[in-house]
């Protein structure tokens, strides 16, 4: 088949593409392109003919040892990863729960200490107030109070 006729119906498109081609490198003439494509076609035909006539060995697909091992290793790895994932999750959950418990206990202890401290402070304050109130006497009775102090000291 003459390739020239094939090129004719593409001449307009090729001309449009010529700029693209020339931008990359030198121009390729139609005759040269035709020759190269003819060589390409002959090359493919020769290769195909050689492959078609080449005797082929039909080998039955047998499960290879390597493949079996690979599948087993894949499954083992998959299982190990799944187990690791699940146990890691459980461990993390347990750790978070324990931490929360410890934190809650610490907070309770702190609150308890704070409450005790507050109670102690209040108690001290009340005692101080009591003592202050007990020691205070109107100024008119000051001499009497001094006498009482003197008696107590005796």
């Amino acid at each position: 088949m003459n390739l020239k006729s094939k090129f004719e119906d593409q001449a307009d498109r090729r001309n449009a593409q010529a700029g693209e081609a020339s931008g990359v490198g030198g121009e390729v003439s139609d005759a040269e392109l035709e020759q190269v494509l003819a060589h390409f076609r002959q090359s493919v035909h020769a290769w195909s003919d050689a492959e078609l006539t080449r005797p082929r060995l039909a080998t039955a697909a047998r499960p290879s040892m390597m493949r079996g091992w690979r599948v087993a290793a894949g499954w083992a790895l998959g299982c190990a990863l799944a187990v690791c994932g699940v146990s890691g999750g459980l461990y993390e959950h347990q750790r978070q729960t324990d931490l929360a418990k410890v934190r809650a206990a610490q907070q309770a202890e702190q609150q308890k200490q704070l409450a005790a401290q507050k109670a102690q402070e209040e108690e001290d304050l009340l005692a101080r107030v009591d003592s202050d109130i007990a020691r205070e006497v109107p100024s008119a009775m000051e001499p009497l109070a001094q006498l009482m102090d003197a008696d107590e000291s005796k």
Partner: protein, 191 residues
């Protein structure tokens, strides 16, 4: 009645035999061309052989539904193109599987030049040029490659290519034009 059914059975058997013979003739005639197209598309002889067998198996299963609206070659080529598309799609989808390609190197593919009476220098130049075409073909999109190979390797007419690929003739021309421009650029760029 019984004689009639026996006659019908005989006729059916004969029709089946004729269909089988017809199909065998179709296989013998078109197998090289289908194999060649698949070989040039995939550059993998084993894969091309497998796909060729799949193509004829599929054609055999659907032989009864082939109404002869297009030529057997166009019909078979359409099956081959679809099988090739399915193959690449499956490979893309199954990228995590072991998908080793036996595609030959571009240099190896361009080694097959018919022995003519040309000089060693001419042969070397032709070898280099064919290698450049292979490089360009490798860089083409799937459709452009298919159209290019059908046109310049299988020497099919544009209308036949359109029927085989399911594209319009205009689209085929456009793909062909782009493919040719790429080949020109490859040849022009490495002079």
């Amino acid at each position: 009645m019984a004689a009639g059914s026996a006659l019908e059975t005989m006729n059916m058997a004969t029709a089946q035999e004729i269909a089988a013979q017809e199909f065998a003739a179709v296989v013998a005639t078109h197998r090289p061309q289908i194999f060649r197209f698949l070989l040039s598309s995939t550059r993998d002889p084993d894969l091309a052989e497998t796909l060729t067998q799949d193509c004829f198996l599929k054609a055999h299963r659907n032989w009864a539904s082939f109404r002869g609206e297009s030529s057997a070659m166009t019909w078979l080529m359409r099956i081959a193109i679809n099988l090739q598309k399915d193959h690449w799609r499956n490979r893309r989808m199954q990228f995590w599987r072991q998908t080793q390609s036996n595609a030959v190197d571009l240099n190896e593919a361009s080694e097959w030049l018919p022995s003519g009476d040309s000089t060693a220098e001419t042969k070397l130049l032709a070898h280099e040029r064919v290698g450049q075409v292979w490089v360009a073909v490798k860089g083409l999109s799937e459709r452009q490659r298919t159209v290019f190979l059908l046109r310049y390797v299988e020497e099919m007419e544009l209308s036949e290519i359109a029927r085989s690929t399911g594209l319009s003739e205009g689209t085929v021309k456009a793909h062909l034009s782009r493919a040719l421009a790429r080949v020109r650029a490859e040849l022009g760029g490495k002079r």
